[in-house]
């Protein structure tokens, strides 16, 4: 746990990681990703692990303090460093050096829409999106299949949160109808839904974000459905902060951003109450929950990569599609892991391993 801090640990040259970036002509180039703030925790964490290229003995970075308890270890069992291992599966030369992966990865943060555009325009290798690319780019499913490969790496329950004060005042659950009413401007006071006599501060995510698109799609019925909110914020974290700062707010976010001072509420759809508590009968973690959504990493099909995914991308994506990856990068950041069958199906989309 000391290697990035300049003078200590490994030499600073290795630290830079830029060795591999510069060597564009000699080695494989950096894998770049861009987009969704919802997917960001997953892909950024994965990228950090990748770039650290820690040895297997460094349990902390492999998901545990103890080698034997590393999630999915039975499938892996390697002495190699993390990036070396996953890269070697696709035929890349290993470096064996900490902080010097066979090729680097870099993840930028914006919105799903931006990520989809970036992958469309070939500016990045991977486009992160929390909404379907069809809705983000307004394209048909055929166009999607023709041009993109959709890698689903995890799922989000997209809960609806309210300020602690509202929750404490008794608003512990709402119906889908009520939420729709709130978000379309028909309900403006908490007393109309059994809360205190306070105006409702309706918080939304920025237009163009996957969270917003999915919310419109899944809650309001159409990706272009009209909304009437009091405030929109760029990323999930900002919504979280604002919900904490106000005592009369409601907002939707990704699961990963729950925190103190805000409370997820149960939502009733057609008689079924989906609760945020994982132990309840129906929960927002269930795939039946209407707001439940896939988290995508799209790659582009073009002449160079008719299959859509080149070896570098595959090596990186494959890391998420292991039990280890699901545990470390999805569950640990509070998202919902994919069932084993889905993992298998996703791995099918990748090119064959070397």
């Amino acid at each position: 746990s000391d290697s990035d801090s300049g003078g200590t640990g490994s030499d600073s040259g290795g630290d830079e990681g830029s060795n591999s970036i510069e060597s564009g002509s000699s080695g494989p180039s950096t894998v770049t990703a861009e987009g969704s703030s919802t997917v960001y925790p997953i892909s950024n964490r994965g990228s950090s692990y990748w770039n650290s290229n820690s040895p297997a003995s460094d349990g902390e970075y492999w998901g545990s303090n103890d080698e034997s308890s590393v999630a999915g270890w039975d499938q892996i069992e390697t002495d190699q460093n993390i990036a070396d291992y996953f890269a070697s599966l696709y035929g890349f030369e290993t470096t064996g050096e900490r902080s010097n992966p066979p090729f680097a990865t870099r993840v930028a943060l914006s919105h799903s829409g931006t990520g989809c555009e970036a992958v469309r325009d070939g500016l990045v290798d991977i486009g992160n999106s929390s909404g379907p690319i069809t809705a983000e780019l307004d394209i048909s499913e055929e166009q999607r299949d023709e041009n993109y490969v959709d890698h689903v790496v995890g799922r989000d329950g997209q809960p609806v949160f309210v300020s602690q004060a509202i929750y404490d005042a008794g608003v512990e659950q709402l119906t889908g109808e009520q939420i729709r009413g709130i978000y379309q401007g028909d309900i403006t006071n908490w007393s109309e839904v059994g809360g205190p006599d306070r105006e409702i501060f309706v918080v939304g995510r920025a237009e163009g974000s996957g969270t917003d698109t999915s919310f419109r799609l899944n809650m309001l019925g159409d990706a272009d459905a009209p909304m009437d909110v009091d405030s929109r914020f760029g990323q999930n974290q900002q919504v979280q902060q604002v919900l904490q700062d106000n005592d009369n707010a409601i907002g939707y976010m990704a699961l990963a951003f729950s925190g103190s001072g805000i409370q997820a509420i149960g939502i009733e759809f057609e008689g079924t109450l989906f609760e945020p508590d994982a132990d309840a009968e129906n929960t927002i973690f269930d795939s039946e929950y209407p707001l439940n959504r896939d988290l995508h990493m799209y790659t582009r099909i073009n002449e160079d990569t008719p299959e859509g995914t080149d070896m570098r991308e595959a090596a990186f994506l494959n890391m998420f599609l292991t039990e280890f990856g699901q545990q470390t990068f999805v569950e640990d950041v509070n998202y919902i892991t994919l069932p084993t069958s889905d993992i298998e199906a996703e791995r099918e989309k990748l090119p064959d391993q070397a």
């Binding site: 409702i200 501060f201 009209p226 700062d245 106000n246």
Partner: protein, 374 residues
């Protein structure tokens, strides 16, 4: 009658031609060649860059080599040519800004064509309706809500910055004892340097939550506090420009007033302020320009929904300004939506340019008037 200007024109061209001819005759032919090559390749490099040609490096290299050689051999002439080229950069920049942001905004203007008296005017729809919605039908890009927001923020900021700024400028220029002056003046100048994002950070993490509680607001975003923060930001600009204007009033005028037994305050209000009026109002105009163009504080403090507050003058709402619309939306927007952001930029640019021209005009007039005194 019509002949005279033309002949004038012709004569002036002729004069210029003979002068050029003479210059060419007088100049060392090698120097002339070097300068021609250097300037020509610079022009070519610029054109290449405009066309985004990968070959731009070639003329650029030629320029560097020719200029380097010329610098060693014919420094005076090359220096003159190069500094001239540099002088044109500001003009070219302004031109490019105009061309590029206007060009990008054309689709939005076309999209928002509205007709008045049967004549369809592109862009009119941006100013005649109140709806901005880039997602759901009907998709409309009206700038009115943002113009309203900008006006609110700017007004409040001006109410803060103008009187306080002028008072502080008077203080520094006329009232403060030398010691205090030497501390306060640089102090206020340094404050001009506080980055707007730092103000924004404080605004978002401290002021907004506080305001939300202290006024039981629905959310914490208000034009009131954005305006105050922006006013604080514009304050140093107003202070230093106004202070310059006040100190540039010849001290003999103040002396004249004092020697007649007028008090300091009377001398300030009857002599100094009126004499520096143009400079002071230019300072306020510049402050207004700063406030209009201020982006980051507004972006992080405002709610980010294009809406007009009700009633119109309600300062306890804070929705969106032209600047925050651009900063927030750029990147995720595309197509006409993105073009509409450029349209917002055009409105900003034109407004501030007009303010700048206005203040320059006022200052030029003052200089002429004060010039008459001397």
């Amino acid at each position: 009658m019509s002949l005279t200007p033309q002949t004038d024109w012709r004569a002036s061209i002729e004069r210029r031609l003979t002068r050029t001819q003479k210059f060419i005759d007088d100049t060392d032919p090698e120097a002339l060649a070097v300068v021609l090559v250097s300037m020509g390749s610079l022009l070519a490099a610029f054109v290449g860059f405009l066309l985004a040609s990968p070959w731009t490096a070639v003329p650029l290299g030629t320029f560097l080599i020719a200029t380097g050689y010329g610098w060693a051999r014919h420094q005076a002439l090359v220096a003159r040519a190069v500094t001239f080229a540099m002088t044109t950069v500001t003009l070219v920049t302004l031109g490019l800004i105009v061309v590029f942001i206007f060009a990008e905004s054309i689709p939005a203007f076309q999209y928002e064509t509205a007709s008045v008296f049967g004549v369809s005017v592109p862009g009119l729809g941006m100013f005649t309706q109140a709806r901005w919605d880039a997602v759901s039908e009907p998709v409309r890009y009206s700038l009115l809500p943002m113009i309203h927001g900008t006006v609110m923020v700017t007004t409040i900021a001006t109410l803060v910055a103008a009187p306080l700024g002028v008072a502080a400028a008077l203080f520094i220029a006329e009232i403060a004892p030398p010691r205090v002056r030497e501390l306060v003046k640089p102090g206020i100048e340094v404050l001009a340097g506080i980055p707007s994002i730092v103000y924004g950070f404080i605004g978002f993490t401290v002021i907004n939550p506080w305001a939300g509680g202290a006024f039981a607001l629905n959310g914490g975003s208000t034009y009131l506090f954005v305006g105050i923060v922006v006013g604080l930001m514009a304050l140093p600009t107003v202070v230093s420009v106004a202070e310059d204007a006040l100190t540039s009033v010849p001290s003999v005028m103040k002396d004249g007033s004092l020697a007649l037994g007028a008090t300091d305050w009377q001398s300030m209000t009857s002599i100094t302020l009126p004499a520096a009026f143009s400079g002071v109002s230019a300072a306020v105009l510049l402050g207004v320009g700063r406030a209009i163009g201020e982006t980051m504080a507004a972006t992080v403090m405002l709610a980010g929904v294009p809406r007009i507050s009700e009633p119109l003058v309600n300062v306890f709402y804070g929705y969106e300004t032209l600047t925050s619309l651009i900063a927030r939306g750029y990147g995720s927007a595309n197509g006409v939506h993105e073009s509409a952001l450029f349209a917002a930029g055009v409105v900003l640019f034109v407004t501030v340019l007009c303010l700048s021209l206005g203040s320059q005009y006022i200052e030029a007039r003052m200089r002429r008037r004060l010039g008459g005194v001397e």
